[in-house]
């Protein structure tokens, strides 16, 4: 949460000039919508003998009242409860959307174990190893980019330019298909891990460099004046402060990598997306498999988000009140 500004104006959604037009727009949109999309409300109204335009208007009004009441209650809750309630409501809306696909849950139950025991294990393995390697590469790259050594600078510049500039899919193909041409036959998983770590290492090099550069030069000079060596200065003075800048975009990269690991399926790794595609295809149930895989990816992204929040709190403790 950003710093709360206590200027005495009502919050946006409580101003009549905001919520009255918003509800009016919702009402008009619902009036034009096909009532067949809300079978429940229509059933209730039909039972009451109300059909046609009048029934439609009543249904739209009922929905508007519900939405308004919901907002009224929400706005009067404490912030933590507001967040929790919004999550619950949006999750229910998403679930309603999925239910409307008319999914075969028996099929999902039958295939879930394969998706998890083979697919998820491979996805997590690839992502975890790549994340560690990318972190090391990025650290080395950032130090090289900030050094006075022209060779290190040139190598680091070339590295970030090439691996940020070439599509990740191409990198996977180049490593998997190109290396055998010079006599090195790499397996699918090492090739995928290499491509993912090189690509994300290049992006994260820039994040680390930016984070380190965001610390004022005076800090380096002061640390040197106190007799710390350059390595000590970086580890004990600069990085602890730079982490606050580095962590949020790095968390982004980790979440993106978790999902980009699905690209290694092109070289035949049985990871989550590959199995979701093939399992769905063989029995014409791809929507089931795609949704299941998406939910698994989401759950693990949430875990990464939670981890990121903890790490942010740790490195942000200097600014806590």
């Amino acid at each position: 949460m950003i710093f709360a500004d206590n200027v005495d104006q009502p919050p946006l959604l409580r101003r009549p000039i905001v919520f009255i037009p918003a509800l009016a727009l919702l009402f008009l949109a619902l009036l034009r919508a096909d009532p067949a999309n809300w079978p429940l409300l229509r059933g209730v109204l039909a039972a009451a003998g109300l059909g046609g335009v009048l029934g439609n208007g009543l249904a739209a009004a009922a929905v508007c009242v519900l939405v308004g009441a919901n907002a009224y209650v929400l706005l009067r809750l404490p912030v933590r409860w507001q967040v929790a309630m919004v999550w619950v409501e949006l999750t229910l809306a998403l679930a309603a959307l999925f239910v409307s696909f008319d999914l075969s849950y028996a099929f999902i139950r039958r295939k879930l174990w394969i998706l998890v025991s083979i697919g998820l294990v491979n996805t997590l393995l690839i992502s975890a190893v790549s994340i560690v390697l990318a972190f090391i590469l990025a650290m080395a790259g950032a130090v090289a980019k900030l050094s006075q050594n022209g060779v290190a600078l040139g190598v680091a510049n070339f590295y970030t330019s090439l691996f940020r500039g070439v599509p990740l899919l191409m990198q996977i193909y180049i490593i998997y298909l190109g290396l055998p041409q010079i006599g090195v036959v790499v397996d699918a998983i090492p090739a995928g891990v290499a491509a993912l770590s090189l690509c994300y290492g290049a992006y994260m090099t820039e994040i680390f460099r930016g984070g380190i550069e965001s610390i004022p030069r005076g800090q380096w000079e002061a640390a040197r004046a106190l007799g710390l060596s350059p390595g000590q200065t970086l580890r004990q003075v600069i990085l602890p402060q730079a982490m606050g800048v580095i962590i949020p975009p790095t968390g982004n990269q980790f979440i993106a990598m978790l999902k980009d690991s699905s690209l290694v399926s092109v070289v035949g790794v049985w990871e989550l997306m590959y199995l979701a595609r093939t399992q769905g295809q063989s029995e014409f149930r791809h929507i089931e498999m795609m949704l299941t895989a998406s939910m698994i990816y989401w759950i693990f992204s949430i875990l990464l988000e939670l981890g990121q929040a903890r790490i942010e709190r740790f490195f942000g403790r200097a600014h806590a009140r």
Binding site: K111, Y176, H286
Partner: protein
């Protein structure tokens, strides 16, 4: 002046060193003939590239194991070579691009011996023929193949069905039956995989597609899975020969596999496997 000369000399020296390093690393082994059979025998394993998303040719069953027609054929070939088969499932374009450099010994993945493909890989022999049919929505008014002239036909892109509908199917196999083109589509819609055309075809008749050209097996599988579609009567559009593929670097290995497949055809092993997976004899 002297310093500038030294700088120029050291840059030239560095470039020379770089050139030497690059030359040393360049692929000198490009033309080395491989002895695939010796490698396979030494390892006791035949490494086979195949598909895992194409029932019943090759798919992952409920226990997480590969199964299917191609898998059984590959296992039988390995058995006759006295080794075990091990499978890898890369993307189709990766397998059929050639230049395997020993990564796979064989590809058993229902590949068509087209003329373009013959430039990058070798064909070790046709092992079955897959008939293609036109499929329409159950509500469609089309009764004969002629009814599809001028309509929208869906095909999987980069496959024989697309080549057929665009009328440039070139099969590099003297034993294959001659191809007769029959439908003049109004529009060809291509899809990234074999199932997406059926997803459009299942929508109310004519919403996105009027017909799909696909292997009979894929169509029957979709019908068994409850898709509201039917096969258009009037016989097969064409029969596609499908071959085992080898890398180009070892003609002796290709010849050995060709003998194995000929033997499997002669003693009825292929007939048994096609009957098991297709319910029909597709082996001749």
């Amino acid at each position: 002046m002297v310093r500038r000369f030294a700088a120029v000399a050291s840059i030239a020296g560095a470039l020379l060193a770089a050139a030497v390093v690059l030359a040393a690393c360049s692929p000198a082994s490009r033309m080395r003939p491989a002895d695939t059979f010796a490698r396979v025998r030494a390892r006791g394993v035949l490494t086979v590239a195949t598909n895992a998303g194409w029932q019943p040719q090759g798919f992952i069953d409920d226990s997480g194991q590969l199964a299917g027609f191609d898998i059984d054929v590959a296992r039988e070939i390995a058995r006759r070579l006295g080794v075990k088969a091990r499978f890898q499932t890369p993307d189709w374009s990766v397998m059929t691009g050639g230049h395997w450099r020993g990564r796979w010994d064989l590809m058993v993945g229902s590949a068509t011996p087209t003329r373009a493909r013959a430039h990058v890989v070798d064909f070790a022999g046709v092992y079955y023929y897959s008939p293609y049919v036109f499929v329409v929505n159950r509500m469609s008014t089309a009764r004969r193949r002629a009814d599809l002239d001028g309509r929208r036909i869906g095909v999987e892109t980069g496959t024989t069905s697309e080549d057929y509908i665009r009328r440039h199917l070139e099969i590099d196999d003297p034993s294959a039956p001659a191809v007769v083109y029959s439908v003049t589509p109004g529009q060809v819609r291509t899809y990234a995989n074999s199932m997406m055309p059926f997803d459009d075809l299942r929508l109310p008749a004519g919403a996105r597609l009027d017909a799909v050209l696909a292997p009979e097996q894929t169509a029957l599988q979709a019908i068994r899975s409850g898709y509201p579609i039917r096969v258009l009567p009037g016989g097969y559009a064409f029969r596609e020969p499908l071959t085992v593929v080898t890398d180009k670097d070892d003609p002796a290995w290709t010849a050995r596999i060709r003998r194995v497949i000929a033997a499997m055809k002669a003693d009825g092993a292929l007939r048994v496997i096609t009957l098991k997976w297709y319910g029909r004899d597709y082996s001749s």
